[in-house]
Amino acid sequence: MKMLSKLVFVTAAGLAATTFAVADASAQFYKGKKIELFLAGGSKGSYNRHSRVLQKYLTKHIAGNPEISITPMPGAGGIKAANYLYNAATRDGTAIGTLLKTIAINEAIGRRGVKYKTEKFGWIVSSGPVDSVLALWTATSPAKTLDGVFKKQVLLGSTGKGSATFIEPTIMNALIGTKFKIITGYKGLGKVHLAVERGEVQGRFASWESLKCCKKKWLSEKKVVVLMQSGLVRNKDLPKVPRVIEFAKNDADREFLKFVAAGSTLGRIYVTPPAIPKAAMSALRAGFWSALKDPEYLATTKKRGLEVAPISG
């Protein structure tokens, strides 16, 4: 019956919003309330994974111990959730969201359907970077070194022309002189990886975490070489892998590449709709910050290969 009692416990834990004596306004704010967390990434992706793990620690650490419910709102490359949060969600502090790293780029390039201003969102925290890396399959790729990718054509798999898996390598071809041929249309990174293993494409420029968590053997058996990374700063796992910006040919290019790289480094951001009560914002910021530092949470994420390196709001 151990499992059954565990099930009951999990259910009870979700419902429990126990009371602690608290003094100031921000501490009182979420007492007895429920926060709805909207996910731009849908119920299948890494955003869901991260948020689900974080969920119970948020209840524990946000003053007033609010219940957290997670509502996936995938669609339109993250624009649907961003629009909803900006225009329709309640502004009383009980609706928050986690948006994709491309929201600023989408606004900047004037993508159709964007109805928000990135800088007007209330920024709670970034839980960690969403760094992309260039990983090539050693058995099939004509280029196996950094030098090679500037000389030989390499086939990269991509999910679509609106995604980072296409945009970033295309920018690299234009500005730093790589010679990627990008095959688009794979439905999800999993299918890109399958195409890599099958030899249909020879590599991909995509999430580092997806290799770290789910393709450990590729790394340990050296089936792939990791040659470049996307962030403003080098990922702490990859101190020796150069950043794309390091290959910029002039200052103007470098500035542009920095803008793109910032999306990776800010990464997994948690935001609120514009203009929520001050007390709510400070409770959220403090709560998220200490939840992301919770030792038990850090142990869990480390075990699962999830990247955590918070940047405050």
Partner: protein, 681 residues
């Protein structure tokens, strides 16, 4: 299967048979049966609900409860399909073609018995197949590249010809509609937005659930409401013996079950080809190979039910193939399962076939056992269920329609889901009236997107060399044989029944059918024109599809307007045999029929209209009670009791258990306190 594998398989069985885990399996199975029977709510929604609870469990228990749920949604989805002609999940759309006519004929028990038994056997075959192919899974999946996937999808699409029955041109036209609809949204090749009309809803293309409910559920409910009779006239044969008859039917068609199960698990293993296509492919296969099928399929042939049901349960075994072997989800619910795996520290991929092989086998056992339990429960309840078909229409229609309304919103949780359902509901109803086969539209919709994607990947990656790959050539060869065979038969000598027919030129006349064809041609032409705005890569497929659509429907139109088909002795032929349910309103004038149809549409639209003002769930309550009272002319007492009873059930299931995020209503925006206190406004 070597000894080590056998050892792992037995060890996994031992783990699953732990009483606690069996309890979880049973729990999952029960939940699966419930969500499967509710139209619009399938395994995906059920799994979303389960996910948070599995985090604390050990992997075997979590697998048991999740697979239990996934394995049987396609068992219980037979219930609404047979009883109301409303598919419970997208996987049972083909079941209604013969299951519903059987129910109308008073043979609901037989159809249900056959459906459940076929489901169980199909599920078991799928599981066994998966179990035995474990050692070769990785090479198997790796050998199938984008060109092969493309060829398989083209083969699937070629079945449109079979599924169109005697109305090939209309069927091809319907397939073109489906293909055109599939091009809506963000095009991955060019990143252009096609036909989104400024909405975000259409950004990712249309969701299949509202499309499928619109195509198949709404027309059936509309006709039921229009004819104002119970589904079955009598229940004389709705006895236990009917159910046994159904089970016997399954065993006397055991080779059909095996073939359709193979189709189900084979196609299930291909990511992207989901339940919504598999049942039609199996149905098409049966219609092509079974003796006398072209005469009886679509009008209550038990083999149609068996084909559809055995294939959609076998699919889960297939969908596990890429999931286990590579961590690439074979279906949307598999994607969710995969994310649960990651949270449970179950690493999909190579380890699942080596060090964690026992976990893989526990998946297989869970599927197998859940299928037996699920079908068992359904068979026990089938007789009681069959009695639903004699409930008065005034009570039944609002109940089923309200379930559909709440269910369809679960697709993408947007008002757009209702528009999609209404649009395809109207289209589906007209297609049904004018003798257009509906299955080709669904096939075109699902396979169209895949064909476009795989075509671009294949050409971009391999140039035109992809055609020369031998698996591609074999599959294309089979496709060609399938398509050409009927043509050759026509050339070599017509079927017996056609010998007596002749076509002759006649005075031009404009029937409603012809007007409908003209309407579709106009739509095709406008989209052909509009596609010109896109860059070449994005306009290619829409232009090809609309171009061919105009040709097919144009030819049909010319035939309808200028020619009549009659027997040699001058008797007019009413309509050609198609594989679809037909509904005749012999005792109704067409004016009266139209009047009732408009009233029905008004009731449906009013739910959304009122929902906009006071919230979807409150609007459903108003609808339930008012429809029963004013349209069904039931007493106030009965209307309120039944209406409130069902409404509380929805409130419990969707609000309290599923924690659905409801659309904002006008009243909720005016009085935010209502929204934050009760959440349903």
């Amino acid at each position: 299967m070597d000894l080590q594998m056998l050892d792992m398989a037995i060890r996994a069985l031992d783990q699953i048979f732990d009483p606690e885990r069996l309890l979880f399996l049973l729990l999952g199975t029960l939940m699966g049966l419930i969500v499967g029977a509710i139209p619009g709510v399938g395994g995906l929604v059920g799994l979303t609900l389960l996910l948070p609870f599995t985090f604390g469990m050990d992997p075997y228990s979590a697998i048991a409860v999740m697979m239990g749920l996934l394995a049987v949604t396609t068992t219980s989805d037979t219930i609404p399909a047979v009883l109301f002609g409303v598919p419970g999940t997208v996987g049972s759309a083909a079941t209604i073609l013969d299951g519903y006519p059987l129910a109308k004929d008073g043979q609901a028990g037989r159809a249900l018995g056959a459906g459940f038994m076929a489901s169980m056997l199909g599920g078991l075959i799928g599981a066994v197949l998966l179990g035995f192919s474990m050692p070769i899974l990785r090479p198997l999946v790796l050998s199938v590249g984008s060109p092969e996937l493309l060829a398989i999808c083209v083969f699937g699409l070629s079945l449109v010809a079979v599924l169109s029955g005697g109305a090939v041109l209309k069927g091809l036209g319907a397939a073109c509609i489906g293909l055109l609809v599939a091009t809506a949204g963000d095009d991955p090749q060019t990143s252009q937005l096609r036909w989104t009309f400024g909405t975000l809803y259409l950004y990712d293309g249309l969701p299949i659930v509202p499309l499928s409910l619109g195509m198949f559920a709404i027309p059936e409910l509309a006709d039921l409401a229009i004819s104002r009779t119970t589904i079955a006239k009598d229940i004389a044969r709705n006895t236990v013996s009917g159910q046994w008859q159904g089970i016997r039917d399954v065993f006397s068609n055991k080779f059909l079950v095996v073939r359709c199960a193979l189709i189900g698990s084979g196609l299930g293993s291909i990511p992207g080809i989901g339940a919504s296509v598999i049942d039609w492919v199996a149905y098409g296969h049966a219609a092509r190979t079974e003796r006398g099928a072209s005469e009886t399929f679509g009008s209550g042939d038990i083999r149609g039910v068996i084909a559809s049901e055995s294939s959609n349960n076998a699919k889960e075994g297939g969908a596990l193939v890429p999931t286990i072997a590579f961590g690439v989800p074979g279906s949307a619910s598999m994607a969710l399962l995969l994310s649960a795996f990651l949270l449970l520290d179950i690493p999909p991929g190579e380890e699942m076939l080596t060090t964690k092989l026992d976990l893989s086998y526990s998946l297989v056992w869970s599927v197998a056992i859940a299928n037996i339990i699920g079908a068992g429960i359904c068979l026990i309840g089938a007789n009681q269920l069959a009695k639903i078909s004699i409930i008065r229409v005034g009570v039944l229609v609002p109940i089923v329609l309200s379930v559909v309304f709440v269910g369809v919103y679960q697709a993408s949780r947007a008002w757009g889901d209702f528009s999609t359902m209404f649009f395809f509901g109207l289209l589906g109803w007209m297609m049904k009236r004018f003798g257009w086969p509906r299955p080709p539209l669904v096939l075109g919709f699902v396979l169209g997107g895949l064909i476009e994607t795989y075509m671009f990947i294949s050409v971009e990656r391999y140039g035109w060399d992809w055609i020369a790959r031998w698996p591609v050539m074999i599959i294309f060869g089979l496709t060609l044989v399938g398509v050409l065979r009927p043509v050759i038969q026509v050339i070599l000598g017509r079927d017996e029944k056609d010998k007596n027919l002749r076509r002759r030129f006649s005075k031009p006349r404009l029937s409603p059918t012809a007007l409908f064809s003209i309407f579709i041609i106009t739509v095709f032409s406008s989209f052909f024109y509009l596609a010109g705005e896109f860059e070449f890569g994005a306009q290619l497929v829409p232009r090809l599809v609309t171009g061919f659509g105009i040709l097919f429907i144009g030819a049909q139109l010319i035939g309808d307007v200028f020619f009549v088909t009659e027997t040699r002795d001058g008797q007019a032929i009413k309509k050609s045999q198609i594989f679809d349910i037909t509904h005749s309103f012999d005792d109704l004038t067409s004016g009266e029929m139209l009047r009732r149809a408009v009233i029905f549409a008004g009731w449906g639209l009013s739910v959304v209209g009122i929902g906009y003002v006071i919230g979807l769930l409150p609007a459903v309550l108003v609808f339930l009670c008012c429809y029963m009272r004013f349209h069904g002319r039931e007493s106030w007492r009965l209307s309120l009791i039944i209406g409130l009873g069902f409404w509380l059930l929805y409130l419990f299931l969707f609000q309290l258990v599923l924690d659905v995020h409801w659309p904002h209503s006008w009243i909720g925006l005016q009085f935010p306190i209502l929204r934050s206190k009760f959440e349903i406004f």
